[in-house]
Subunit: 412 residues, 2 copies
């Protein structure tokens, strides 16, 4: 039974999250399936940024640190993120980039678990995660050892030499979800800590960090959290671990009394010790508007719709592009997949270029993966249908071949 | 001979930088002498931010990384900062916070100078600098040793055990300027590297990093560079040192080919290896407008006016507040002082509160220092006169005493 465009329009009418699309400004001429790379613009963000720039910066100037509570932004935004990931308000704070936060927490974790010296991560993990762990390994010389193992060998790699296992919860390319509770349990059984990168999870699926025994987590502000380009990132430290964790980027904002201007660092009591430099106010203001797009949203609805949109896309590919040579390279079932799908094709790059030229924005990951994200707050079922329709036209008419040599010439 | 308000108005007329004030939006009802903490709003910043938010983010979305050259922001802004500090365009890049950049470069420096293990810094240096060096020392266990010595003992502390000396070029509280060339020479004579924190220097005085033999530097975007609250920071690595320096925050943006998504970090060739995570686009766009306020400005004029404004303020204090109990705690001569002055007074906090209530914004640094900054692009001689006039009134009428107990109650 074929899925019609009308079927999809009907699903949009019945969608409990349909109202949330009005919280964004999405260009009329685009089908934007790349919210997993950069979330769409919250409708309130332009006015908020204008106010922060012209009034808070321009008029109130330095007084804004107190008057407009700039100093409270990292904790306030952390408290907004906490319920989206199943954490307590005092367990999350916003600071720096995902990469920098990974360095902080990984360094703190191996120190807390010394003399254990092994960090386990996954081959094919998001590159910056591996690079940052490699940088820590290099810096500490022989004091720690990074073991990168395939996904299938992760559980067996956990033994009592392991200080930390650092994984991305939802894989950036395949969308495959790790079983957080199972890995936390296994790691804890051997005395290791777990650090989750939630960059492709927060705002896309329902998370229960506290329930699932998570120790540490980091995540990105500019994907599903809609915080704007290069938005600051967040980090999570479970309450019970907070007193024993000491991160090395001990800048003044993590000091117990930053404005005492003493010569000796003394870490703040709680999660604030994981701050480093001065908060990036403009980026945090934009992220706050992004986080407000989740006001009143049930994360269960988010997860259900993420899965349903991806399932719909894959069904339509099977129905209409079965001869095109695509290999589905994501879990076929929405339960094991984040809010994204991935297809492999030898001409993936050219196909994605043709799709973008037709007004459908997805992205390409080398060497041959085309990737579509379905940010559930603003993506409609009919968008999925229309995107697939254009994909089917492109592969049927092989229009991407016409552009192939030109595109190849342009990128080499 | 007393200095009259008319004298100051005449100096403003003759000021070769007078035209630059129109590049800023400064509130009419304020005398803003805190540009050393947060620079004023560039007149072009509101429109630029509105465009970045609504068009680049809202309409162009993910395509902006190429279309609007978001990916080029760190290097483009570095190239704008370079001439302000006497560096080559490929020696400066914008990234992260001052604190994070200090960690990167200090870690890279001690690694490059191993087996030397000593880092020298100054007692009373800006706290975050000391805290970050302490964090690095803790992380590396016994591998390095931080020696904090008084300013007068810095030269003698340099011997062949020293890997790095890390100093703030202009002291945040006293405004005293270190002799960059002399310290660079002495450090190089014993084989050590030098890392300068230029947070209170860049945009306030004329700098010649290349001429003076500087190795490494970091600096702040939100003070004299007018980049907005929490603006991203910059870092400098001398061209000759770039190949041998490896910083540990090896995120994907410092990779030689970030979009190859390989599992192994390979640092970029030049200054780009000092990037870590995704650039903070909103903050960088604002900083770019801040940097444009220096277009066509001679840094010699900047330095002359900084010195002249501070000298004027101190002359007026001597003339009109000589009985008020102030102790000048900055160098009396503009040549040895940054674009700021500092006065000590046992009731400094209450006096600054009274000044702020009267519309003169300076700041207070514990325990007893009131501090005034004279950002030379938008501060007028008449502003200095008016600020001093209000200060003289406040101390003559002892109006600050009326507020003292109320203020004390509010801050404790």
């Amino acid at each position: 039974m074929t899925i019609s465009r009308e079927d999809c329009l009907a699903r949009d009418v019945a969608d409990p999250l349909a109202f949330a699309r009005a919280r964004f400004i999405v260009p009329h001429d685009l089908i934007y399936l790349d919210g997993n790379s950069l979330g769409a613009l919250p409708a309130t963000a332009p006015a908020r940024l204008a106010d922060v720039v012209s009034r808070e910066w321009g008029e109130d100037l330095i007084r804004s640190w107190n008057k407009n509570d700039w100093i409270g932004l990292p904790a306030r935004l952390g408290a907004r993120i906490a319920p989206l990931i199943g954490a307590g308000a005092n367990e999350v704070i916003v600071a720096d980039s995902t990469s920098v936060n990974l360095f902080k927490l990984a360094a703190a974790a191996v120190r807390a678990r010394a003399p254990r010296r092994v960090i386990v991560s996954e081959i094919g993990n998001f590159p910056t995660d591996l690079y940052v762990l490699q940088g820590l390994e290099d810096l500490l010389g022989g004091a720690i050892e990074l073991r990168m193992v395939p996904r299938c060998a992760l559980m067996d790699a956990l033994d009592d030499s392991v200080a930390l296992i650092a994984l991305t919860h939802i894989h950036y390319k395949t969308g495959e979800i790790h079983d957080m509770a199972a890995i936390d349990d296994r790691a804890h059984a051997v005395g290791a800590l777990v650090l989750w990168d939630l960059s492709h999870s927060a705002g896309a699926v329902e998370l229960h960090l506290d329930r699932d025994g998570a120790d540490l987590a980091i995540g990105c502000g500019y994907k599903y959290l809609n915080g704007g380009p290069g938005a600051p990132a967040f980090l999570f430290v479970a309450r019970a671990l907070q007193p024993e964790l000491h991160q090395p980027l001990s800048g003044w904002m993590g000091h117990d009394a930053p404005f005492d201007f003493s010569d000796r660092y003394r870490p703040a009591e709680g999660i604030a010790r994981h701050l480093c430099g001065t908060p990036v106010v403009l980026g945090m203001a934009a992220l706050e508007e992004g986080l407000k797009t989740f006001d009143g949203i049930r994360m269960g609805d988010i997860e259900s719709k993420s899965a349903a949109l991806g399932d719909l896309f894959l069904s339509l590919v099977a129905e209409r592009c079965s001869d095109a040579g695509f290999i589905v390279s994501c879990p076929p079932s929405g339960e094991r997949r984040g809010s994204q799908v991935a297809l492999r094709h030898p001409e993936g790059y050219a196909i994605m270029q043709a799709l973008i030229a037709s007004g459908v924005i997805g992205d390409f990951r080398a060497p041959d993966v085309i990737r579509f994200g379905f940010a559930p707050l603003y993506t409609r079922y009919v968008d999925v249908w229309d995107a697939n329709h254009r994909l089917a036209e492109i592969v049927a008419q092989r229009t991407w071949q016409q552009d192939r040599f030109r595109i190849r010439a342009a990128v080499t």
